[in-house]
C-alpha cells in the first residue's frame, strides 16, 4: 500500500543514543544524527517528531536496557546471591574505569543536564533508580537468607547504600579517578557490609 521504511527504528535509536551520550542533549544537532544514520532530516522528524521526543525515546530505551542488564546480573538463587552482588559491584567499577571517554552513564548524564527542566526525563530517571534499588534489595535479602549478610540489617538501607556507592563510582570515574581507586572503592564497600555474627 505505502512505501515501507528503509531504516530500522532501533538502529536509529542506538545511533542517536551514541550522539546524545557523547555530546549531551543541547550540544547534539539533529543534523549530526541525520548524518550518522544516513537519514534525511525529514525522515527523522517524520518518524520521531522532534529533538525532544527523540531524546525521550532514546532515554527510555537506555533506562530500560540498564535495568534489564542489572536484572539479569542480580537475579538467581540464594546460594549465589553474594557472588552476584560482588560481581556486579566490581563490574560497575571495571566498566567505569574502562570508559576512557569518561562519558559515564547516559542515565546520570541525561538526568544531570535535563532533569531539572524536563519532567519526563526526571520521572523516567526516578523510575529507573527505584528499579535498580529494588533489584539490589532483592539480592541483598537473598544474601541474608543465605547467611552472607547480617540478618538484622535493613536490606533496603543496605541496598540504598550500595546504590549510592555505585553511582558514586561512576561520578568519580567521570572526574578521572584511576581504575585502581575505583576497584578499591568496590572492594571496600563490599568489605564493610555487615557479615553475620558466627
Amino acid at each position: 500500500m505505502a512505501r515501507p521504511r528503509k531504516f530500522d527504528e532501533q538502529q536509529v535509536l542506538d545511533t542517536a543514543r551514541e550522539r546524545f551520550w557523547s555530546g549531551g542533549y543541547a550540544a547534539t544537532r539533529m543534523e549530526d544524527i541525520a548524518e550518522a544514520t544516513g537519514l534525511g532530516k525529514g525522515s527523522l522528524y517524520g518518524a520521531f517528531g522532534g529533538k525532544q521526543e527523540l531524546f525521550h525515546r532514546v532515554f527510555d530505551d537506555y533506562c530500560g536496557s540498564v535495568v534489564d542488564a542489572v536484572s539479569r546480573q542480580l537475579r538467581g538463587n540464594d546460594e549465589d546471591a553474594y557472588a552476584r552482588l560482588s560481581a556486579h559491584v566490581y563490574a560497575v567499577a571495571a566498566a567505569t574505569a574502562a570508559d576512557t571517554a569518561h562519558r559515564g552513564c547516559l542515565l546520570a548524564k541525561g538526568a544531570a543536564e535535563l532533569a531539572e527542566h524536563d519532567e519526563t526525563v526526571a520521572k523516567r530517571a526516578r523510575a529507573a533508580i527505584e528499579a535498580l534499588q529494588a533489584l539490589l534489595e532483592g539480592d541483598i535479602a537473598a544474601c541474608q537468607r543465605n547467611g552472607d549478610i547480617a540478618a538484622d540489617a535493613d536490606p533496603g538501607k543496605l541496598a540504598a547504600l550500595v546504590l549510592a556507592v555505585l553511582r558514586g563510582i561512576e561520578a568519580l570515574g567521570k572526574a578521572g579517578a584511576s581504575e585502581e581507586t575505583l576497584t578499591d572503592i568496590a572492594g571496600t564497600a563490599l568489605a564493610v557490609l555487615p557479615r553475620p555474627a558466627r
Copy 2:
C-alpha cells in the same frame, strides 16, 4: 588614568555561576548572564573573553569554594574528628535533599556535561576530587588516632569509599530520591565504617 569598572567581578562570577548551574553550559546564553548582571555584552566579553573562558572562571571559582568549605568542615583536632565526619556526611545529605531544584553540584554537573570534551574542566574537576579525598583521608586518619575508627583500616580506601557515597548521594538526589532515603544512606554509610575492636 582609565575609567574604572562599575561592576564587581566576583559578583558577576556568582551570577554567572547561578545561570550555568541552573541551565547547564550549552543552554545558558551569554545574554542571559548579561541581563542577570545588568552588564552589556561588550563589558562581559571585555572582562572575561568569551563564554568558554567565563565558564572556566566560574568552574574554577566553584571548585575552590567547595574545597574550601569542606576543608573548614573537616579540619580540627583529633577528638572531634569523627563528629566532624559524621556532621559532614549528614550535611551533604541534607543539602542535597534541600536542593529541590535537583541541580546537584555544579562540579558534577559541569564535569558531566563538559569533561569529555574540555580538558581544562576535566583537569580542574580531577584536582577538586583529589583535594576532597585528601581532606576526608586526613579526617579519617584523625578518627583512627582517636580510636573512633579501626586502626588497621586503610584510611585512603575508607576516604575513597566515603567520597563515593557522598557523590552517590548527590547523584541520587538529582534523580529524585527522598530526604529520608538520603539521610538513611548517610547514616548507613557511617554505621558500616569499621569501629575499633574494644
